[in-house]
Subunit: 415 residues, 2 copies
């Protein structure tokens, strides 16, 4: 057994033991520790910034892009945001202990389905050091022990943050950071299903694919958001222009930004010039199907690849469709089952769209940008799941819990 394997397995055993202690803490006890974690972050700002400076220096030496360096950097504003985020999690209701269902059987046994923590959760993530605090704190709030495995670029920052959190009175090993950043550590973590109940990879498609192919335990996946907006023949066109512009441009580098616009043929000639003007005013590059290009004659052709691309950029592909059914078929075939919108004044058409589109979030007359735990009112978000099992769409604290059946009787036997 390699040193990496030995170390990570030992962390797994420790996480399991910590999880049993965490599950017994009351909400008040957990919240007091959360407030202490926030205080520890605030107290240790000088240490955090010093650790971060090492990462930044190494990153510059490695030639990281300006965008990557920006993701990596910590300053007093970002550490304060981290601490304030923890304070806020302390104020959220604790889902653990909630009774989901309760009933009595004719033989007198009383069955209760009660929310409990999942147990132990592995988080594998890339550059942003704030994920160390965000993920650990949400898992802690819900009584789960966390094993974090961050990227090599942020190792000093991550270590300093994890040490601050661990110093705040939580049970030993409630939050552990893997000291290795090579690929073997991902494989070891993904293989130890005895000690790890769930893995959540946070990062690009390559990272998620790697974890999926290695993991023996459940993985909650946050794949691409190839989001669509369908402008129905019965749309309020002014609203459709506003929703398209907001969905595409309010923030374009995120999974709930719009990537493909579908337009009903009956209004295309009237609507497309209007929406194109609004998008061009925001510097959006347009690519269209042949029929779109017959109306917007100066735009590039969209290829088959465009329909399956998450641009994360100011680019929008446009397709004219013959019917609601054609829009639904395109979305279900090419989309990523994340968030899709219909704009229509016709309630029946809209309801039909909501029922037929196989996506986590289906919206009527709302910007795609509202597919978000904060906008849903969850208070905190661990991500937006593109899975259908356990958690789908924006994930809040509830989605970090499991349940258990507690059954009480007075000697019932089956024989």
């Amino acid at each position: 057994m390699s040193t990496i394997q030995e170390t990570i397995h030992q962390m797994g055993r420790q996480a399991r033991a910590a999880a049993y202690r965490l599950a017994q803490l009351s909400s008040d006890e957990k919240n007091a520790i959360l407030l202490a974690m926030a205080a520890a972050i605030r107290q240790r700002v000088p240490e955090l910034l010093a650790a971060n400076a090492l990462d930044i220096a190494a990153g510059k030496e490695k030639g990281l892009s300006a965008a990557m360096l920006d993701r990596l950097i910590l300053d007093e504003k970002r550490t304060e945001a981290m601490a304030a985020g923890i304070d806020q999690v302390a104020t959220l209701p604790d889902p653990v202990g909630q009774i989901l269902d309760a009933w009595q059987r004719p033989n007198g046994i009383r069955i209760e389905q009660t929310r409990v923590p999942i147990g132990t959760i592995g988080i594998i993530y890339e550059s942003r050091p704030n994920v160390t605090a965000d993920a650990a704190v949400l898992c802690f709030k819900t009584g789960n022990a966390t094993i974090l495995r961050g990227g090599s670029e942020a190792i000093h920052s991550n270590r300093a943050i994890a040490e601050a959190l661990a110093a705040a009175g939580a049970p030993d090993h409630a939050v552990q950071l893997i000291p290795f950043t090579d690929r073997e550590s991902v494989a070891v973590l993904a293989g130890m299903d005895k000690w790890l109940d769930l893995i959540i990879p946070r990062g690009g498609k390559g990272l998620i694919e790697t974890v999926v192919s290695l993991a023996r335990m459940p993985v909650i996946k946050h794949y691409d958001g190839i989001c669509h907006l369908f402008v129905d023949a019965a749309a309020d066109q002014e609203m459709a222009v506003a929703l398209t512009a907001d969905s595409k441009t309010q923030k374009c580098g995120v999974c709930n930004a719009l990537e493909t616009l579908l337009v009903h043929r009956d209004i295309a000639a009237e609507f497309l010039p209007k929406v194109a003007a609004a998008l061009r005013a925001k510097n959006v590059e347009l690519r269209g199907c042949d029929r779109t290009r017959a109306i917007l004659t100066d735009i590039a052709a969209a290829t088959e690849e465009d329909w399956t691309t998450e641009y994360l950029d100011l680019i929008l592909s446009i397709k004219i469709v013959d019917s609601l059914e054609a829009a639904v078929a395109h979305i279900n075939e090419y989309g990523s089952h994340h968030t899709d919108v219909i704009v229509s004044r016709d309630e029946a058409t809209a309801e039909s769209f909501l029922r037929q589109v196989d996506s986590a979030c289906v919206f009527h007359n709302v910007s795609t940008r509202f597919a978000d735990g904060g906008e849903f009112g969850f208070g905190a978000e661990i991500g937006i799941s593109t899975d259908k099992l356990h958690a789908r769409g924006p994930m809040g604290l509830r989605e970090l819990t499991s349940y258990q059946y507690r059954v009480r009787g007075n000697g019932q036997t089956k024989a």
Copy 2:
């Protein structure tokens, strides 16, 4: 691409298309088709028995054990039970369409969390041909398309059953049986996450392990039941004897049968001879820890292996523990997190046990044998999950569904 791969990928595409049609069926439409499926089974009894005779003849030639042949055999009683089971599923409430939660945000958007089918489900199973009908029907009731991959011993029976179900008016490809029974077909199925949302392996540990190591999509696992019963110092000893005997002997070859008895040291000297007498009267072989053998002097020693063995037989391991905490620690360490029981008159002790034991089902003064979808009142059971994500413990129709957020607004933008 091999023929097997091509065929199964084609079935995957067809299943996805079928799932979209199934998701649009009303409960009444699905129930009418279910009744037609039951009728088709009854009509085709001669064909089913003829196909089954081929499997039985091949099984005898291969030298299958009497127990395996018994699992394989179909007769008029078993085909009628299959049909009656389908009729019964038609009478159960349909969870699809249920509104799980609904709320409005300050900006006016209305969010609804609605139950929807999962989509496409793969079932990989071993010898019993009735699984073909049971699994397909539960998936159909919840609007899911099914791809079945049964074992080679039952291939003729499985094909005849699947044909009967498919002939009952369901959308094309709602229920498909893979015509191959080799290992490659399992690997192909487990790899096609584009078309399959979930795999449920039903069979022994080896089969489940194989699927877990290959699958790229979620797997719901039904691992062993290493179930415990802890007799607390404050137990009603007569009740404890009855519950032990029922849990161990009412049916011993199942996952919710008792495998290890834990006895509090303060009552061991009095309790053990009583429970031993009752178990011996039922021909149960006892194995004990050293302290147990100081009281029951004629029983064999339990080794470390006994604590982690699912006997599925009339064998019981016994251990004396010093405290509730020791009982909990043993169960969490050696158990399979399936079903564990405390027998006690002390409510506080019992509640502490229920809160600390990390198992799907935790019982107070109830036989382990009630860990069952039927006994819980689910009306139907697809299995007992030992997973913590999505479905834990007895799985009914609810656990074959996902959800979707349907959001309605009037033009809300984020900017």
